[in-house]
Symmetry: D2
Subunit: 339 residues, 4 copies
Amino acid sequence: MLIVMKTDATESEIDHVVSIVNELGLRAHTMPGATRTAIGITGNQGAVDVTRFENLPGVAEAIRVSKPYKLITLDLRPDKTVVRIGDATIGGDELAIIAGPCAIESRAQAFAIAESVRRSGVRFFRGGAFKPRTSPYAFQGLGEEGLKILAEVREAYGLKIVTEALDEAGVDLVERYGDMIQIGARNMQNFSLLRRAGRSRLPVLLKRGLAATLDEWLLAAEYIMAEGNYNVVLCERGVRTFAQHTRNTLDLAAIPAVRRISHLPVVVDPSHGTGKNHMVIPLARAGVAVGADGLIIEVHDQPERALSDGAQALTLEQYDQLVQEVRAIHEVITPATVG
Amino acid sequence: MLIVMKTDATESEIDHVVSIVNELGLRAHTMPGATRTAIGITGNQGAVDVTRFENLPGVAEAIRVSKPYKLITLDLRPDKTVVRIGDATIGGDELAIIAGPCAIESRAQAFAIAESVRRSGVRFFRGGAFKPRTSPYAFQGLGEEGLKILAEVREAYGLKIVTEALDEAGVDLVERYGDMIQIGARNMQNFSLLRRAGRSRLPVLLKRGLAATLDEWLLAAEYIMAEGNYNVVLCERGVRTFAQHTRNTLDLAAIPAVRRISHLPVVVDPSHGTGKNHMVIPLARAGVAVGADGLIIEVHDQPERALSDGAQALTLEQYDQLVQEVRAIHEVITPATVG
Amino acid sequence: MLIVMKTDATESEIDHVVSIVNELGLRAHTMPGATRTAIGITGNQGAVDVTRFENLPGVAEAIRVSKPYKLITLDLRPDKTVVRIGDATIGGDELAIIAGPCAIESRAQAFAIAESVRRSGVRFFRGGAFKPRTSPYAFQGLGEEGLKILAEVREAYGLKIVTEALDEAGVDLVERYGDMIQIGARNMQNFSLLRRAGRSRLPVLLKRGLAATLDEWLLAAEYIMAEGNYNVVLCERGVRTFAQHTRNTLDLAAIPAVRRISHLPVVVDPSHGTGKNHMVIPLARAGVAVGADGLIIEVHDQPERALSDGAQALTLEQYDQLVQEVRAIHEVITPATVG
Amino acid sequence: MLIVMKTDATESEIDHVVSIVNELGLRAHTMPGATRTAIGITGNQGAVDVTRFENLPGVAEAIRVSKPYKLITLDLRPDKTVVRIGDATIGGDELAIIAGPCAIESRAQAFAIAESVRRSGVRFFRGGAFKPRTSPYAFQGLGEEGLKILAEVREAYGLKIVTEALDEAGVDLVERYGDMIQIGARNMQNFSLLRRAGRSRLPVLLKRGLAATLDEWLLAAEYIMAEGNYNVVLCERGVRTFAQHTRNTLDLAAIPAVRRISHLPVVVDPSHGTGKNHMVIPLARAGVAVGADGLIIEVHDQPERALSDGAQALTLEQYDQLVQEVRAIHEVITPATVG
């Protein structure tokens, strides 16, 4: 931490700051400058609120320097995490694609889509049984019935099931029927849910919150890992900005930003990240080109009749085109990103 | 809803849209224009996804017109809701002030602050027992122990207790010890928690999410009310923007915006809304001047030693000054806002 | 400035950073910490790009500490600036109100509105002759003809004229006909225009840009002052955020934020700051309550026929109500903000 | 336009709206609905302010439907514009790369970089002679001296010169020495500058403003085209959001969004779009993969000694790597984006 004193701070104000630093068991380094004094603080500052110093007399600003996370860092684990789900991986050499409908609507719908997903050689199937809907009057998902359909899909096609849990009871159910727990953007700081997922044996797909900073997102992963579950995959799915030509603004710079700090794999969701059918393929290509470990894609056999998010779902034909295009790019950039 | 066709849309594309509208049990009104045709849709559109039409051939844009909420609206209930907690009210003529520390840290701390709050004539005491912290390594609150201290404060000073629940189990506990359930910004779209609060006999203080639109915030209230609990108070606490001179950007225009649509009371949180001690009093004045029903304020007997959010807590002296100033403004504007 | 080294930075990487610091004529203060070393830098850093250090080997982060402005600061001038325009002031004890139409549309319109403004006792009249319109096909203002009407208004009513200049030639014209040069939000970083205004004898009303940070806004004022014109009034007019219930999000915390750093007066524009007629009076009250030195308000004798921004213009009756309400609040808070 | 009436609007309020619509020479289509009436408006609405209807009695909302631009649209010109500068093109089959330093600092620096750019087979050289700097005390560019160096670079290497004009006088100079006028993000709504560029014979590179919506950006291009200059290239360079891990948030979805509406070419600036050296190559790959017509890249022979924006400049080695990687992606996706 760095405390910047005002230009007219007195000696005794500086001494007062130093004494509070010492009182907290930390070490103060006073640096007199041309116009003002700064005080560097070293020592373990884990529990210190950076801003509390700002109201002390003579203080102009307090700046946090150390990052508050540990388990997610490359400092702790220099090699990238590879999450293994049966014989499939996320974070390894293969491009991981997770595809399926926004919501499971019926057995027929799920099987029609899973058939295409399987045929494309993709390993993961997504589909919501519990849907977090903005309105209480919108379709909320089939619940456990939907999870049973997902379990049948797994049985029939050998696909790994990625599905969302909205609360702790939901995690129990996903553990029974699924392969990977999705935590949605709206729940990224639902700390009870994060802790429960941290005690699960299943890997977790952690979506970035609508207005989450990089630090907040990584600390949400830290919550899961602090409970013992190290199999976390991050998912960039767009953030909320002033822009109105998309539902969210897909922040692809988050991928190199994560890479620089963390060993966790990170995938991109161009479906929620744009909310527009015609943008999904271009942004999927961009997500792979930027170096993501995979994609999560919404696809529907009849998008115009989907019960939720129909506007962004790909048709089965568009989906096939996407898989082909992103694999071509993945092949081209592999030496670049690995090398 | 309004469907705008492309300039080169064919007759058969227009007919196709009309037939899908009819299929959904709605009515289509075709309006040929100078350069393009628009199709107005009337009928109950509650469950219709506005964007699904955007991918039909010939469609340029689909625009939602009807608002998706019901119970929160002035259409349903033209008179403002007054939430009663014992002999205290929020939404009535009196300015409702909720004051106390960010987190309950000890019995001594809580009582020292409650003493001042009581003396100021304010009716509500706040204090967190369960703290939603960005980092898993930060102080997480005293838990049930903190709630017991709050119950003692109520006993000793007759203050009404407002405290946060982070999950469904937390609501059980707040029901045992407190008077009003606070739902925090990070949980504004934790729909399981909203539904649980909707089944409580206690009123709910619903904070706006960090990136919540007005509609999303009002629909979160709708979730609570749809379960039968009509005693909801909205709380504007700042939103996340690019601005860095405050922790959040306090959006005071949200107060007249809520007023125009909803009968629910709305209060302002200038403490989280700014995150800076020196801004709390000016923004509290502004919150009352804009016409809010009340304020929620963080105050601490020793802010520089607070275990959380010390930078924004008022001292006891500053708190007394705030109460005095905002009451003077409330008196001046009352005829204006009522008249 | 503070350079934070990586945890695995070598001694020679640290020495390399120190040598570059020295090469730039600055002083390095090395602070070894528990897990990493930080290097504080002191000396005049005016022209040093803070981020250039970030790509040096072993560097984790570079943090700017010193603020880049001088003339606008309280350090330089501890007393608040009072801008004098004839016998009227902005920044003094009196609440400064600037009122008038968005655009001058005709002599009749300007005089009808000025009549009301004069009668209310307000001292400043606004009205655009050159309008910065998003579309090239929208009404662009009457040009010099509009300025002549403004000069007549001044003659007839003794009001001081505040009007916008869009470019350097526009400043020449405003100097001929007006009393104060307005620089609009879209031009806040039009540095050629700022410099020209800095060489004018007229005071400048500098609106905050749509996405301007506090620092950028203050540095825009610094551009004007660096040319010798010290009569600058800042104007908060709302920033662009994700929120859609207003045209812009009025950031009232900017007022105490400016006060803490700068001696320049600051006024609030609740008309552009909300873009909605029904919000202008509440937010004007809030602007005065937060401690602004004044307001700039759009008023029209026939808002529903205005050629621009009709949705936010007050009627003459609403305007009278606004003046009455904000004066009452100004009276109440004066001891508070002065004392 | 669509006017939505309140649920309790009276017949006479509806009639009043219809009469105002007629008075404006437009046609009203009344649509009675289940709970409220909507009024569709057709006819040429070019100059009508959409929001003016919102304050009429009984009106709940006014929604704009028609888009306000003409010349930039695919409706007007279904084939993509190819901008030709001598024998080089932007918008054609070839990937257009514009590379060079942020600012021209000296003849030696410019030539060292141009040598590398030429060798890579890239056709466009960038370099600022007039720099729009946030602080008046930062390096402002070499001025005309810098333009002369650029002209020498053109002479020596046959590269086309792209350089920024900050004001109308600057356009005169760029016309004398350069090949393409760059209009920066801060000047995107400097309408005097846009009009001057619209009267130039040189093509224009129009950067998106820091907080510009898609419509505002396209309308800025419309300003240039309305003066007769049809050779406009759009440039996405990142927008301002809450995110702090990058200088700006690069909004790659803007590329398919532009494509859907406009025939103008669009390029991506990953240097300003991220502000971080280590992100430039990944985001350049993403920009090409998303389907942009080209890139604009900052490269420097000694980034750690650059007088501006050193943190984002690529070294000459990194630049070569970038060119190689993006060309490989461009080759792979060409059939996809064309087909």
